[in-house]
């Protein structure tokens, strides 16, 4: 299972003694973000380069590869994007698997402050990569999503990502549309 938030939910619910059915449903739901993420990456690859092999390489879609592809696809010739994505994904997997094993062996031997810094690395990377997003409409979506995220989460933790994405993203799309019509 290549998805950190899903793994966290899985382990936490096992620790709480939840039923297997509840664990599977909760962890699978946290992966729902991969659907829109895939839907925004694949159309940027030219149709003639898309084949059934995408069902295999789709495993490489993660927050990291998505953020990097969204940043770099614009600078890369369309016919090279599929190769770039596949290569990047392979590097992530081949460093992630031994990284997981080393992390498992080191866990408990690392001082807590170092662990806290490393845990912070993850959200910081995504936040910093957002500053490179160019299109106005997407910047607006980031802003609305970011502000509403913690607010909606305090009301409904399990549905907050979906609500913020659908409502916030649609709002940004419509605001941008009306701004363009008026200008």
């Amino acid at each position: 299972m290549y998805a950190l938030p899903g793994q966290v939910v899985f382990v936490e619910m096992i620790a709480l003694g939840a039923s297997g059915f509840a664990i599977a449903v909760a962890a699978i739901l946290t992966g729902a973000r991969f659907l829109p993420m895939t839907l925004t990456l694949v159309p940027q690859i030219p149709k003639e380069d898309r084949s059934r092999s995408l069902y295999a390489t789709a495993h490489f879609i993660s927050m990291t590869s998505w953020a990097v592809m969204m940043r770099d696809f614009g600078k890369i010739a369309p016919e090279r994007r599929n190769a770039y994505f596949t290569g990047f994904g392979l590097v992530c997997w081949s460093s992630g698997l031994p990284g997981t094993m080393i992390g498992y062996l080191l866990a408990g031997h690392v001082p807590t402050p170092i662990t806290i810094g490393l845990v912070m690395l993850n959200p910081l990377f995504f936040l910093l990569s957002f500053t490179e997003v160019k299109a106005q409409v997407n910047r607006l979506a980031l802003l609305i999503g970011g502000i509403s995220g913690p607010i909606v989460y305090s009301v409904s933790p399990s549905w907050s990502i979906l609500i913020c994405g659908l409502v916030g993203g649609s709002a940004a799309f419509l605001i941008d549309l009306s701004l363009k019509r008026n200008s």
Partner: protein
């Protein structure tokens, strides 16, 4: 129903089965994305809308993790997390192509604050 799916405390086999089901379910979102993107092109307004939805979704998750974290990050006061985040963002804004620098300083700053916090207790 509930009893049928509950993991018996000593059953390693069922725990692995649940993990397998979860892994397949997690992948299915990606596979479904490939399936549905079949006719979608970059120029389509649907594509632009889904891009907005995805950015809003990811931003809400990232800001939530920083402001309202669960687990070990929650042991640190909000002010520490905001200082580390703000510093990294400022470096990123002031200096071009400084992602690695900004990320390293933000992470080190977070560790340093956590270290000072544990030393002062």
């Amino acid at each position: 129903m509930e009893a049928l799916f509950s993991i018996p405390k000593n059953s390693v086999f069922w725990a692995w089965m649940i993990l397998l089901i979860t892994a397949l379910g997690t992948y299915s979102w990606r596979g479904l994305g490939v399936l549905l993107s079949g006719k979608l092109t970059q120029e389509s307004p649907w594509f632009r809308w889904i891009t907005c939805v995805t950015y809003a979704m990811v931003a809400s998750l990232v800001i939530r993790i920083i402001v309202l974290p669960v687990g070990i990050l929650a042991q640190m006061p909000l002010s520490y997390r905001l200082v580390a985040t703000g510093t990294a963002l400022a470096i990123m804004m002031l200096k071009k192509n400084s992602l690695v620098l900004a990320l390293s300083i933000g992470t080190l700053l977070m560790s340093a604050l956590a270290f000072l916090d544990s030393a002062s207790r």
